[in-house]
């Protein structure tokens, strides 16, 4: 069953981090199937800000045309479309043994509706309106499941980060990081030496709906420093600007 692979470890020890696409990495190519032009445009714009390529299809017919001519990393699919139900498209897509992963954008809050979507062949769903950090997290999770070990380990100094298993080790010794600590490390380790402002880190770590000040990031920087104690790298404060990951022992 499709959804069984998806069931997370409910004891909470499995943290699924946001694998932030590193600036040097190739961007993802999205097919956005959404008939509302305003929503399609604004979602596409927001995804393009992160460097992704987005094609918009406003109907099932247009989506099939796009799929016939180009390859995509992921399909974002609306349910209510002018020429049919997104679920029918999904069924046809799966029967054609097309393996492009699909995340359905649903307006329904009922869990049974969402479970039905997964049974129809969706890889995941997201409820409108959605947080882009959550979308990003779900996209990464879907791609990780699809690609398996295709993504390489990321290393910096004696820190090894496994984006698939969400594992961190320092000098070969495993360290247990919480979700937000992992996401912070991921952002920093993805561009070592680069300075990230508090605002940028906040935008990526917190939902935009959370009423947090930019200073809330200091708590997570402090925690990450504690988890990385004894490593050959440290999170450096650039006073008045932000933070960066640099080699060398903690000062």
């Amino acid at each position: 069953m499709h959804r069984r692979d998806f069931t997370p470890n409910l004891t909470g020890t499995c943290h699924r981090p946001t694998i932030w696409r590193l600036s040097k990495d190739p961007a993802l190519r999205f097919l956005l199937v959404e008939d509302d032009p305003d929503l399609a445009r604004s979602v596409a714009e927001r995804l393009r800000l992160d460097g992704h390529g987005v094609d918009i299809a406003q109907s099932i017919g247009a989506a099939q045309d796009h799929l016939a001519t180009a390859g995509y990393d992921l399909i974002l699919l609306d349910i209510m479309l002018p020429d049919g139900d997104g679920r029918d498209f999904l069924g046809a897509h799966r029967r054609a043994r097309a393996d492009t992963p699909v995340i359905v954008m649903t307006a329904r809050s009922a869990v049974s509706d969402r479970v039905a979507l997964l049974d129809t062949g969706a890889d995941d769903y997201i409820t409108k309106p959605f947080d882009f950090n959550e979308l990003e997290a779900r996209v990464r999770a879907v791609l990780r499941r699809r690609n398996g070990s295709a993504q390489p380990l990321v290393t910096f100094a004696d820190i090894t980060f496994d984006p698939i298993g969400a594992l961190v080790s320092v000098g070969g010794e495993a360290r247990d990081l919480r979700n937000r600590e992992l996401r912070l490390l991921e952002i920093l380790i993805g561009a070592p030496g680069r300075i990230h402002s508090k605002g940028q880190l906040c935008d990526r770590l917190f939902s935009a709906a959370e009423a947090v000040s930019d200073n809330a990031i200091e708590v997570y920087v402090a925690r990450l420093r504690k988890k990385l104690e004894g490593s050959g790298a440290r999170v450096e404060t650039v006073r008045g600007v932000g933070y960066r990951l640099v080699a060398g022992p903690a000062s």
Binding site: D38, S42, D131
Partner: protein
């Protein structure tokens, strides 16, 4: 219906009894009068005048005629010019003297302590060349007449009762014949499941055809209205949430581009408002769906553990974004409910949603499933801010919220939905402060 028919039959029987009694009374009296009159005339005709006086040879056949009426006693009195010549001298006289010419006068009087009917006739007889008036009075007691009337009245009463019985039986048969197809129809409609909105196609008597036609019309309109309600709820969610998603995406894009603190704060406010609107709309539609489905009573077996696992799966990624872990504990043995899946899911989903909303980042939510007698107990416990003493009835009231939640957006509908579900599914609900901080919501639902 049958009672009214029986009452009418009883009234008719009583009327019959009374009227036959009165007719019989009159008829018997008329018969007695004509016999009395005939006897009096017969006696009067036997009066012979002569020079020596008046003679009479009483015709006993007249008395025999009178005797035919029964065991009654007969009296007579003959007067000549007002003086009793023979017979019972104290037999009462008529109220007015009858005219001579054998026209009888009838009257009733008491004689010898008995009611008697009397007939009197007069005629002129020439005695010693002088015309005298001879008056003949015949009296008879009335016991036989009373007996006859009583007998006839008794027969009338028997006839009335018979009529009554026949009418009652006929009305029962008629009612049964008319109502049987109707009660068959009612049984057939009553046996239907909640989702069975097919038209009625069983054969019915001609008289019932218009009723069945309009019932089918009503069922059709109901089916249309219900499917419209479901479609409306689905489409309303789509039409509300799509523009909110647009708004949120645009605000997030602007937030990403803006460096100005005041602008960023304003954009975050917009995003919170969009999330809040979506949540409220979702709860309003949930509430509408719950109220609408509460009347439907469509039940199915539900594996509570699997349902809760689905709910946790749905909420875990969003919760993980804030480092909130959701732990599902139990049950020790399978818990199967027999309930409306959407209702049960709405209740649990709203409890989990509340727990996430009021939890601080980096905390845990515990969902515990257990058997509690004939009910399943679902406890959703968080380490959030708690209730500060607010009571369950206040929190489950429509649009009411706790006193310590002014800074967190919410509609006050979440627990109202839980309350509606509990009412519809015959469950129970309580919410209380959790030992060690936070809130514990308890939901009990009957096991299958």
């Amino acid at each position: 219906m049958i009672g009214a028919l029986l009452a009418v039959a009883a009234l008719l029987a009583a009327l019959l009894f009374v009227s036959i009694r009165s007719v019989a009374d009159t008829a018997v009296e008329t018969t007695q009068d004509s016999i009395l009159g005939a006897a009096a005339i017969a006696i009067a005709e036997e009066l012979r005048g002569g020079d020596e006086g008046l003679s009479i040879d009483i015709p006993y056949t007249s008395f025999a005629m009178l005797g035919s009426i029964g065991e009654d006693r007969v009296f007579y009195r003959i007067l000549v010019d007002g003086v009793t010549a023979t017979g019972y001298a104290d037999l009462p006289l008529p109220p007015a003297a009858p005219a001579t010419g054998l026209a009888p006068v009838f009257y009733t009087a008491t004689y010898d302590q008995t009611e008697v009917r009397l007939a009197a006739v007069s005629r002129s007889v020439v005695v010693a060349r002088r015309a005298v008036v001879a008056q003949v009075i015949i009296a008879q007691t009335r016991s036989a007449k009373d007996a006859i009337v009583a007998q006839m009245a008794a027969r009338a009463a028997a006839l009335g009762l018979g009529f009554f019985a026949v009418a009652a039986i006929l009305s029962l048969i008629a009612t049964r014949a008319v109502l049987q197809p109707l009660s068959n129809l009612a049984d057939a409609v009553g046996r239907r499941g909640p989702d069975d909105l097919r038209p009625i196609e069983r054969p019915v008597p001609v008289e019932l055809a218009p009723f069945v036609r309009s019932l089918n019309g009503f069922i059709g309109r109901l089916a249309t209205a219900l499917s419209r309600t479901e479609t409306f709820i689905a489409e309303a969610a789509h039409h509300i949430r799509t523009p909110l998603a647009t708004l949120r995406a645009q605000a997030e894009t602007a937030l990403r581009r803006s460096e100005d603190d005041a602008t960023r704060e304003a954009l975050r406010g917009m995003i919170r408002a969009a999330d809040d609107s979506a949540r409220r709309a979702g709860q309003l539609l949930d509430h509408a769906a719950v109220v609408y489905r509460s009347d439907q009573r469509s039940e199915e077996p539900i594996d509570l553990a699997a349902l809760c696992a689905d709910i946790v799966t749905a909420y875990a990624p969003a919760a993980a974004m804030r480092d909130i872990d959701i732990h599902l504990h139990g049950p020790d043995s399978a818990l199967t409910l027999r309930a409306d899946r959407l209702l049960v899911e709405s209740a649990i989903r709203n409890l989990v949603d509340n727990a996430i909303k009021y939890s601080d980042a980096d905390s845990a939510i515990d969902i515990t499933l257990a058997r509690d007698g004939r009910r399943a107990h679902i406890a959703v416990a968080d380490r959030g801010r708690g209730l500060e003493g607010a009571r369950t009835p206040h929190l489950t009231a429509r649009l009411k919220r706790g006193r310590n939640v002014a800074d967190v957006v919410g509609s006050g509908l979440g627990l109202t939905i839980v309350r509606e579900v509990v009412r519809a599914q015959d469950g129970a609900f309580s919410i209380e402060d959790r030992e060690g901080g936070g809130t514990c919501a308890n939901l009990w639902l009957p096991l299958a």
